[in-house]
Structures are given as structure tokens and as C-alpha cells.
Amino acid sequence: MGLPEPYWVNHEVENILRADNLSKQFPGVQAVDDVTFGLRKGEILALVGENGAGKSTLTQILCGVQRPESGEIYLEDLAVAFFSAYDALNAGISMVFQELSLVDGITIGENIFANRQPVGRFNNIKWRELRRMTRELLTRFDLDLDPTTLVKRLPMGKQQVIEILKAISTDPKILILDEPTSSLTEAEVSDLFEILRNLQQEGMSFIYITHKLGEVFDLADRVMVMRDGKNVGSRSIGEVTEDDLVAMMVGREISDMYGDTTQRETAQDEYFRVEAFSRRGVFQDIQFGLKRGEILGLAGLVGAGRTDLARAIFGIDPKDQGNVFLEGTEVEIHRPQDAINRGIAYLTEDRKGQGLFLDMTILENLISPVLKEFTNRFGFLDRNKINDDVFTRIEKFAIATPSANQKILNLSGGNQQKAMIAMWMGIEPKVIIFDEPTRGVDVGARSEIYHKLRELAEVGTGIIMISSDLPELIGICDRILVIHQGQITGEVPRNEFSEELILAYAAGIKNRNQH
């Protein structure tokens, strides 16, 4: 790490793309700061860094969406300047953006060849030709789909694949992918990787942005790390470890990621209990207990039914049957309000869509679950009381913001997550169900969130944590339940934690019910 790697170091190796001293400033931020790097022909270069490190801006410059203030881009040793994404596309640089760019109501074929449909003399689209081209592309990647299927009829994962086919269909020299796997299942991810490796064989070069360090080692040949807009260095995959990358990304060593992780004596009294929870086709006969001060992990593959279960416990979604006990007595939960009144909080995985009021201020968000406590006897809001309380909570949860009146929208992912935790602390929860607490959160902020969870557990709160990130569950939990196709297939105590064991339960290869 340290100094950016000068391009002439690898002069013998053919760089298909080279950037010299690129800089780009946004109001108040130096998003890309004097970045120099090269992309070799036929390699997969992973680009990692915390949120706001400048990865997206850098790639947007490379594909023509943003223009740099200074610096040069060389494509196959020719200086190029792009004025739009369309220019870059024509030059052979194609990008798959984080958000889907597909149009629901039209066919796969028209989506892939958007605005590039083959046309006849009168600007009329040649449908037969379009179908043929689409079918060809689909067969090339072993996809048994009809080119005339409307995109809205496809499941999420397939849509993501179509998105990538769209980028590939221009036959680019370089394909840039910005976190393409964030909404894919494991199976879809391995399909995607296979597609990318095939393309690599054909000589395509890739820049692959990701937050998942595991993917870096599964897929990439080389990895480049960015921090604060700068290129802090690149390494061959063979000569770097995950810890090295984290240190490069954060700029310091994180030694104490999860806080105190020794096996601790949790209180033995059962605090919260879920019994016989079932919903046909989603989850069956779920039964588990939670002790005071325990952090219980729910592991499983995406779609195993963990979130559905949590939503049913909290009273958002219906259940066919099931009982909830808190401190020994049964509680009836039919609506979220029932759960909240009993001190059960659910922090959704969909932070932006369902968890927070993005357009409103931190202050307004923090008081939202408990408005009643902040009103005076006339039903008006008590400003002083609110300010005191909100200020304390912002301090306590270390939310980095210039003021309580900042809109949630303007906070980073990690700070939004902290705000959501702070918001729910207002109800003084006895049990917290936490769904994917660190999705889209930086390594640094992650560590803070883990410590916060541990603190909450230490004062006696019961925590149920759903996560698809196994190292995280292993790092923080006291006990892990594994769910496979709506059933608990395994229960693993802390001293038996291992990724292999949990994965075996999660994939349904092992099952505690069938010995």
C-alpha cells in the first residue's frame, strides 16, 4: 500500500485501459483524487473500498457518465475523451449499473438491444432479426428463455442476468460491473461468475466493484483498493489476504471487529419464545427460545424464509398458527403495534424502502415510533423534550451528522443503519429482531454496529439477528439457528461454530431432525 502504482511499472504487460492522474470533485468532496491505474487485457480487476471511497465515481468517469476535471484515459494506448455513456459504449466500454435499467413492460429482446434494434429502410424494427439476435445471445449463455417474454415476468435474478447480457450485447472490450450480485441468490451468483469467466476466456477485460470480499477471491485476478478517492494500491489475488484488504480499505487495522467474542455465561432464564410458527409454503413449525442478553443468529440461504418468519413474529405478515411468549406469558401479536407495545422491535433489511423516512430529518425519524411520549397534554409536540432526547441518542449511537435536522437521505449507509437502531431504542425494546444489519454498510461502521449490539445484549436485551454474511454471524452470535426451506435444520452453539457446518445445514445437506 502507500503510493499509487505508476503505470510504467507494468509497461511490458499490455494494458487495455490506462488512467493517468484522474481527478473529480463534487461540492465538498474530492470524489476521485489523482487516480492512476491500468487494466490488463483479459483480466478481472476487483475494485474494493468503503462506501464513498470513490469507486462508483471512478467507474462512471471511465464509462462516460461523469467527466474528470483532470487526467487522461487511454484505451489501447490511444487517448480518449467521452462526453456520454454512449460514446464510451461505442469505444468498447460497457457498464452494468447497480440499479436495473430494464423496462418492465417490453420484451427481453427489446431490452437487450435498447435503441439498437435492427431496422429496415423506414426505420422499422425487424422483429424476426431481433428475435434471432436475442436467441443467439441467450443460447450462448445457456439461458432457456423466450426472447419475447416480457421482462416483468422474469424473477429478479434473471433480470439481473438480462441486464448483464444487455451490457455484453455491444461486444465491449471492457465490462464494468457495479455490485452485480447484491440481489442474487447463491446459485445465480455462481451462474454469473461462470458467464464472466467464459467471457474472460474470449478476451474481455473486467472491472468488478464489490463489497463482498469473498467474491474478490472467488473471481478476480487482481484487486485494487480505493480510499478517500485515492488508489491505495493493487495486489495480485495470490499475494493478499482478506485482512490485508480490510486494512487497506479502512486505513487502519481493525483488531477488535466484533467486540468481546469469548463464550459468555448468558442468563439461563428463557426470556422470549416462539412456538409452532407456521405459514403454509413459507415456514413450518418453527420453535425456538431466546435468553436474556443473548444474540441469536438466524442463518440460511436467501429465500429460506427467515425474513418471512421475522415479519410474521412482528405481526406485519399473517401466520397460519404460532404463539409468542415474552417473560413467561403469551402475547397476542396481530399487528406491528401489538409487538411494539410489548417491546419487540423489528429492524428491516430494507432500510431505505421500509425502515426509515428518507426525506425527513434524523430528529423526525428518531421520534417516529414513540410520538406519543413527546406530546404534551394538548397533543402538541414538546420541542424541548424532543431535542434533549434526540441529542442524547445521536451521541450515544455515534451518528456522524452535522445536525439533528439533517435529512436521513444524506447520511451514509452506516449512519442510516445507526439512526435506525437509535430510532428503535426509543421504544426501549426487550427483544430486537435485526434483519441484515450490515448490508451496504462500511467495514468501519460495521464494527461500531457490532459493538452497539453487544452493548445492548449486555444490558439484557434479547437480539435475533438475520444475516446472510456467515463470518459476521460467527463473529457476533452466541448461538446460531439455521433455516432451510422454512424449517430449522440446525442449531449450533458458539463453541461448535464453523462455516462448513452452518452451510451444510443451510443447504439442507445436514438436518438435525434426521439423525
Binding site: 456520454s84 454512449y86 423496462v103 413492460g105 417490453i106 435498447a114 435503441n115 424473477p155 443447504a507
Partner: protein, 337 residues
């Protein structure tokens, strides 16, 4: 293991259905087809209920009555597909009638007066389009503003009085016949057939689907989003102007209140025909069939002697039903995949 199962499970659903059933299911997913079936069923029932319903005279009456709304709907649906909306079509319609009427009474020849009228419409379209595309003002607010402004402007121009006694060389546009069919019906049919073909097959018009579906993505595919948007606002304005000319010629005078509330009926027709207010979906044929269905319904209620007040009530119900049908349909399909 499970991964394999889910993967193959998804793929097989696509290709195993046998011919006829698959074709039918496919057709049923097109709004135009469903609407056509409804219209045919409705026609059969009405033919049994009233002997007059499928006489030539009545069919002509239906088409003539809906020609104004359907003409505008041809443009409106393209605009809706691109994510736009135009509330000012009713005002534009009346505005063009007044401008053309004033030009005619000032002694300007009919073709030139028509041209002036259409240019007036075009300028409204340019104004709406530029405000929405360039200044990024919300289409609802923009066109609500121009709707009120243009209605005011035409009152000022006409000094509050209708323009009467328009020359025969002009009124022939709304009253003449070709092959025994009245001009407005002719114009409408040409617009529907031509518009549908263009919107289905021309790359230029299909750009609207991309813009309405995902504006940023459209821009990234090299579509000149602003240009297409402005074009669409001009298109709907000129078609509203055309409707204004037809109606003015039919009555031989420029009314100041004509077209009031028509924008909502036009949008209703488009949505019954499968368009969505959030853009990316719809077709010209669908919009026409939507207007046709509304026209037939109004006519049928008339023939059956139902109070005119029920028309609005029933049309509203149909709109709600169409949207509910859509939502349920989507939900069913989503749960199946």
C-alpha cells in the same frame, strides 16, 4: 442440490405449455385482446337488447362522437408511455378552434387558417414540452398551468364571444364525406392504424417506452430524451388541435367552452386501454379500444333510456375495474414466478 432444483424449476415453466393453451394465455396477457373480447361481447348483448345498436347510422354516431376524444388519445397514449401527461389538451382544442375561427373571419383562406390553428397547437406543445423536458417541471403542474392559461388566453382573444358563421370551405372538414364516411371518422381511423403501426414498429417511437420505463437508462442507451419528450408534447397538442378543427368545422362555430374536462376522459380511455400513469406501457390500439368502449357504453345507456347522469358513474366504475384487474393480474403472475 436445492440450488439446482430452483434453477431448473424456473426454466421449465417457460417452455412446457402446449400450443393452443399457451397461445391463449399469451393473448390474454395483451390488454387489446381482452378489451376486444369485451367489446364483442358487449356488442352481441346490445344487439339483442336494442335493434338500433348495430345499424349503420348508430355506428357512425358512435364513431363520430368518440372521434374527438380518440384522436387526442392517439397522442396522449404515446405521451403517457414516455412518462408524461398533458392536462391542457381540452384548452388547446378550444384554443385552436378560436384561433382558426378568428383567422377565417379575418378573411384568411381555409387551408392557411387551418395551418395557423395547428401552429398555435404546436406552440402549446413546445411550451409544455420545454418546461417539462428542459426545466424538469412536473408534467401535471406544467400542463395544469397551461390548461388554465390557454383557456384564459382564448377568452381574451375571442373577447368572451363564440366565433360564429364560419365559411363553408372550412366546415366541409367536419361535415363532408368520403366514400360515404364522414371525414372525422376517416381521419381518426388513419391516425389509429398509422399511429399503432408506428408505435409498434418504428425505432423512433419505441424510444418512448424506454424513457417511460427508465429515463436514466434510456439516456445511457443514447436516446435523446429531451427531444423525444418535446416531440411527444407537440404530438398530443397537434392532435388536440386537429380534434379542435374537426369539432369547430362540425358545428360551424368556435365555442369557448368546448373540450372542458376532455383531458380526463382521454386519459381514462388510455388507461382502460392498458397504459400506465407511471409510463412504459400502453398502445395506440389499446387507447382507441378504450375510447371505443367508453363511446359504446355511453351510446348504449342512451339507447336503453338510462338517465344521462349514470354515464359518468358507469365510466368511473369501468376505470376502477380496469385498474383493479391489472393489479390482481400482476399479483397472480408475480406469485406464480
Amino acid at each position: 442440490m436445492t440450488e439446482q432444483e430452483t434453477r431448473t424449476g424456473r426454466i421449465t415453466t417457460n417452455s412446457t405449455e402446449s400450443g393452443l393453451l399457451a397461445t391463449l394465455r399469451r393473448l390474454a396477457s395483451f390488454r387489446e385482446f381482452v378489451l376486444l373480447l369485451v367489446i364483442i361481447a358487449f356488442t352481441i348483448i346490445m344487439a339483442l337488447a336494442s335493434p338500433i345498436f348495430i345499424t349503420r347510422l348508430n355506428i357512425e354516431a358512435i364513431l363520430l362522437a368518440l372521434s374527438v376524444e380518440a384522436t387526442i388519445a392517439v397522442g396522449m397514449v404515446v405521451l403517457l408511455i414516455s412518462g408524461g401527461l398533458d392536462l391542457s389538451v381540452g384548452s388547446t382544442l378550444a384554443f385552436v378552434g378560436v384561433v382558426t375561427g378568428l383567422a377565417l373571419t379575418a378573411g384568411i383562406s381555409s387551408p392557411l387558417s387551418i395551418l395557423i390553428g395547428l401552429l398555435a397547437a404546436l406552440s402549446v406543445g413546445l411550451l409544455n414540452g420545454s418546461l417539462v423536458a428542459k426545466l424538469k417541471i412536473n408534467p401535471f403542474i406544467t400542463t395544469l398551468g397551461t390548461m388554465i392559461t390557454i383557456r384564459g388566453l382564448l377568452l381574451i382573444l375571442a373577447e368572451g364571444r363564440a366565433v360564429l358563421n364560419l365559411p363553408k370551405s372550412f366546415t366541409v372538414v367536419g361535415q363532408g364525406r368520403l366514400f360515404g364516411i364522414q371525414y372525422p371518422i376517416f381521419i381518426l381511423l388513419i391516425l389509429v392504424v398509422g399511429g399503432d403501426l408506428l408505435l409498434r414498429n418504428s425505432r423512433f417511437f419505441r424510444q418512448s417506452y424506454y424513457i417511460g420505463g427508465n429515463e436514466n437508462a434510456a439516456r445511457l442507451s443514447g436516446i435523446n430524451v429531451d427531444l423525444v419528450k418535446i416531440f411527444n408534447y407537440c404530438l398530443v397538442a397537434v392532435l388536440a388541435g386537429t380534434a379542435g378543427l374537426m369539432i369547430t368545422a362540425r358545428f360551424g362555430s368556435s365555442s369557448l367552452t368546448v373540450g372542458t374536462g376532455i383531458e380526463l376522459r382521454v386519459i381514462t380511455a388510455c388507461i382502460i386501454g392498458g397504459a400506465s400513469l407511471s409510463g412504459g406501457e400502453g398502445s395506440v390500439l389499446g387507447a382507441f379500444l378504450g375510447a371505443l368502449f367508453m363511446g359504446m357504453l355511453a351510446n348504449a345507456l342512451n339507447l336503453l333510456g338510462v338517465d344521462v347522469y349514470y354515464q359518468s358513474f358507469v365510466t368511473g366504475l369501468i376505470l376502477i375495474l380496469a385498474v383493479v384487474f391489472d393489479v390482481l393480474n400482476e399479483r397472480r403472475k408475480a406469485s406464480r414466478s
